[in-house]
Symmetry: C2
Subunit: 196 residues, 2 copies
DNA sequence: CGTCTATTTGAATGTACTCAAAAGCGGTGG
DNA sequence: CCACCGCTTTTGAGTACATTCAAATAGACG
């Protein structure tokens, strides 16, 4: 067993203990890549052909709207996955970008290899079901906050839920994630002070 | 094969063809219930012990915030599922309500039965992975719209994405889903007119 | 040191909320 | 069939929350 994917093996093991043959199979299909800061892992209009595991670094997925504004959909950091699920499964062109925010090391699994893995070892079907369930619950919390809370409360919640992220990424990206402007986030952080 | 679950069988078949033994096993663990309008399927502080399939009718899940305002998290109608995933898996008390908005017929699968089904027939692991992936992609679209669009655009998108829902449920619930007040939705629908 | 990006600040504006009141709508019972 | 009740929708005035645009300041990096 190679050392390069130790934390990915440990990650899977934390869900369900893997057998040696499962580990071997995994090892065969994982593609390790290093990504420089601010480089693309997926560009809009490309097809998302890989499920991507972040081993080191931070990535974000985002859409750009008609006015040219970026809207951060998700951050993924150590031991998290990022993918455009829709493009991955439909093989349609992606409408989003995935980009590194730090020098980043990733392991990727190509679509057909992942589908074969599912067919061969149902355990991975379970693992990936659980992974996406976790992501789904996070998204639900975020939606509830977005529709029920003001920007200031959403920001405070973000700090609580992602304390480490908030020190590693620019505030302007947090603002985009929260759905507010960088200027307004700055005012929130400043406490609005000065009468008005 | 009983007639009462025809549309649920057809539903699963639309994902992956089922064998007779799988259908039989399903049949054993499905619990059919009829729910009157505006009755609870899950109440806050109860544990969510069932995955619920909507056969007829409409349900919504919602949270209530500190100010006592309801915030609609999700609508589920014919051939859709509703569950509080967090409570279902953790067995912790639920923080949300699930309530019918019409006379509703549901099929429920109890937690331990579902887990056994997964263990016995990995196919269901796949099916439920795909179901939640679909839901996940919908949530992602909603988040993007929430953080990037104004209330009026979000409402127009809702009408496009859920044309049938919008005629079956009160506007006040759509407003709650979109994260705006009923009064403001009314003004959007009226076109704001009158100078101002 | 200079360049590029991120952050802050302020004034003016736009978007959405609050509160109150009136009008509409659907079901139910007399 | 009508009258009433409860709930939804509309309307308006006043206010609060958040954006836009411009400009200044601060930080990061080669």
């Amino acid at each position: 067993m190679s050392f390069i994917m130790d934390n990915l093996i440990a990650y899977f093991d934390s869900y369900i203990q893997l057998t040696d043959s499962e580990k071997n199979e995994l090892q065969k299909i994982l593609e390790r890549r290093t990504i420089k800061k601010n480089h693309f892992i997926l560009q809009k209009y490309d097809v998302c052909n890989h499920y991507t595991f972040i081993s080191e670094g931070i990535t974000r997925s985002y859409a750009i709207n008609d006015q040219g504004t970026e809207n951060n959909l998700k951050f993924a950091t150590e031991n998290e996955w990022i993918v455009d699920l829709h493009s991955f499964h439909s093989k349609n062109k992606s409408q989003i970008y995935i980009e590194s925010m730090e020098p980043t090391i990733i392991f990727q699994i190509e679509r057909s290899n992942l589908l074969e893995l599912f067919a061969k070892f149902p355990k991975f079907d379970t693992i990936f079901r659980v992974i996406i369930e976790d992501d789904y619950m996070r998204l639900e919390r975020r939606i509830i906050q977005n529709i029920s809370s003001k920007a200031e409360d959403r920001y405070q919640q973000f700090l609580i839920e992602y304390p480490k992220l908030s020190t590693r990424i620019p505030n302007t990206h947090i603002a985009s994630y929260l759905g507010i402007t960088p200027e307004f986030l700055s005012k929130i952080r400043g406490g609005f002070s000065k009468k008005n």
